[in-house]
């Protein structure tokens, strides 16, 4: 019925695990897509960057000589088209086991003295509301199917509000809280919700970072960490894992000190 190309039929001896990655065209998203395909998933890849997306899917499918990655160009701020697009993707994949919300933008205000509501607005629209718009129908489906896994990419930046980029901190903190609430709702229905908090990862977004960027890891390392956490159905990971301890420390810096600090 659908005109999209179809992956090979799933059979008991050739089962198919299906996933969606929203925000898959580059960075950690593309690395995780490659990793999950390698582990046997068939994926729907969603991104607003159509050309990059098609190139990635083409590369994956031609290297495996099989229809394993399907491209769906979409901007997550087109909230209204999400339920229809999700339904189409699930029909094309023939089901859904794992949903990853990876889409994110980082638009710093341009200095600790500057304020930029337009940028903050955009970040909340993509990073937080985009996530909620996708996760709402996905959570409802998984709850009723009594199965599935949701992965959301928050950030170490969401753990504390800092002077450099209030809008970004807010969008990522909001997403982390939203994911926690979903986890509390869905665990009782057999659905796992994994929150990922990456530190600095060598991607396009790193260019927006203000100041020093210690402990940079490659997107491939981040993807491996995320995949392992998915496999073990973990609830929260930092990548690199060192950030768990750094952020534990930072979270406990008293405000009286923290508000006088320069980062």
């Amino acid at each position: 019925m659908s005109d999209s190309p179809k992956p090979a039929p799933a059979t008991p001896l050739n089962p198919r695990r299906c996933g969606i990655i929203v925000g898959a065209s580059d960075g950690i998203g593309a690395a995780l897509a490659r990793k999950m395909i390698k582990e046997g998933f068939t994926l729907a890849l969603v991104s607003r960057q159509k050309d990059k997306l098609n190139a990635l899917c083409g590369e994956i499918n031609s290297s495996l000589n099989a229809m394993r990655a399907l491209a769906y160009p979409h901007d997550v701020t087109n909230y209204n088209e999400i339920p229809t697009l999700l339904r189409k993707i699930v029909a094309d994949l023939g089901g859904l086991d794992t949903f990853v919300f990876m889409a994110g933008i980082n638009l710093p205000p341009g200095g600790v003295e500057k304020y930029n509501f337009e940028n903050d607005h955009k970040m909340v629209e993509v990073n937080l509301i985009g996530g909620m718009a996708w996760l709402t129908p996905v959570a409802e489906m998984f709850q009723h199917a009594k199965a599935g896994q949701i992965v959301g990419i928050s950030s170490v930046a969401g753990d504390r509000g800092r002077i450099g980029n209030p809008g970004y901190n807010t969008s990522k903190a909001g997403l982390a809280t939203y994911l926690e609430a979903l986890r509390n709702r869905l665990t009782r229905h057999g659905v796992n919700v994994l929150t990922v908090k990456p530190g600095f990862v060598k991607t396009e977004m790193l260019k927006a970072a203000q100041g020093a960027t210690p402990f940079v890891i490659t997107p491939e390392k981040a993807a491996d960490d995320i995949y392992n956490a998915m496999r073990r159905r973990k609830q929260l990971i930092y990548t690199a894992s060192l950030w768990r301890w750094i952020m534990l420390l930072i979270q406990h810096i008293p405000s009286v000190i923290f508000r006088r600090m320069s980062f």
Partner: protein
Amino acid sequence: MQNTFTQLENFGHSLSAQSYLIQPKSAEDIYSAFKLAKKIGLTVTARGAGRSYNDAALNGGGILLDMSAMNQILEWDQVTGRVRCEPGVTLEKLWQHIEPQGWWPPVVSGTMKTTLGGCLAANIHGKNNFKMGTIGEHVLEFTAVLPTGAEITCTPKKNADLFYAMIGGYGMLGIFTSITLQMKRIHSGLLTVDAFPVQNLHRHLSSLQDDAPNYDYIVGWLETFAGGSSLGRGQIHAARYLHEGEDKNPQDTMKVSNQVLPSRIFGVFPKGLLHYFMSPFMINLGVWGVNTGKYIASLRRHTFRQSHAAFHFLLDYVPNWELSYGRSGLIQYQSFLPKETAEAAWTEILQLSHKNGLPSYLGVTKRHRSDKFLLTHAVDGFSLAMDFKVTDGGRAKMRAMLQEFDKIVLVNRGRFYFAKNSETTAETALAFYGKDIVDKFKKLKKRCDPNGLLESDLYRRVFGE
């Protein structure tokens, strides 16, 4: 829509799929589902009891019509034996309704949990296929709603092309809304059963062929582990109806309470728990032991009387037995071969399974005859159904082995049954049906379902482009 999203499995627990579940109560509801599907761009599949071993009642990512609410027996005439039912009526409900008055369904499957809609969609056969054909041959009339919204009535004379294509059409042309069947008169609630051993595959198949005419039912158990000169050994169960007068008290033996399967073993142990105790034995060594023991026990030739329900519904004898196969479930590989080539083909297949160290855990043989239905699986010959345990590590090897089996069956002009095999590909289906039949079916599909709304995972697998 999201709040109807449901994950369902097949009978063998070897495959699951998620779909939007809709439970129609009438033909209008079914048509509404078609209209909804067309509007939002999804496909539709009907699901009866979900007793097929593969993906016939699964539609991953699409709409699934749960037919269990359309489960009324609409008319029953105990003088003529005609019954008109909604498609969600199960064989269990049907036989319990008619047997006390001296009637029995002419064709039943190995489980009574199947629905009549599912039985017609797969055009099921029983242990009397050689004599009574498939269930489709006992259908007097059915009504169905097509994706176009048309409600049609089919008999062997009226809309004959659709009659012979929708029965055995796996719900891909339309959805049954009522089914009229002719039941068979019986004079007792019991059957006389002869049980005797057969020492090898040649004797096994000869017995099925030569003894069948003397009985009403015949079925073979094939001991799948034995090799060499004992390859294909097993036990035949052949049964016949009691004649009028043979049973002194038919009113009593035909009571439902005298038919139902006991729920406890030795009157104490609940059978519902049995599958937990079977589970540890479901490894090659364990099943080898059970098979060998069963064969030795079967060496005693004996005759006994058994109720219809106990004889037919072996799959219901141990509730949830399929769970004993473990987390990855089981698959069944059933091949239908002409009587001339069956022995050679199955010798090769059984040897191949031994060589691969992937023996079947249960083998069942039957005698068949061909029929007029478009997508028929039956041939003038025999069938061998083999159950295999699926394991996570063994999938690739088993898949390669079954592909070899397919080749052997095709070379020997055999066929497959879409309610059973889960790995049959579109190329294989085209090879055994031939282009004419597949084209004819697709042409009918275009006529009944111009927008391609009716699709199951099975359809996409065996008829997909």
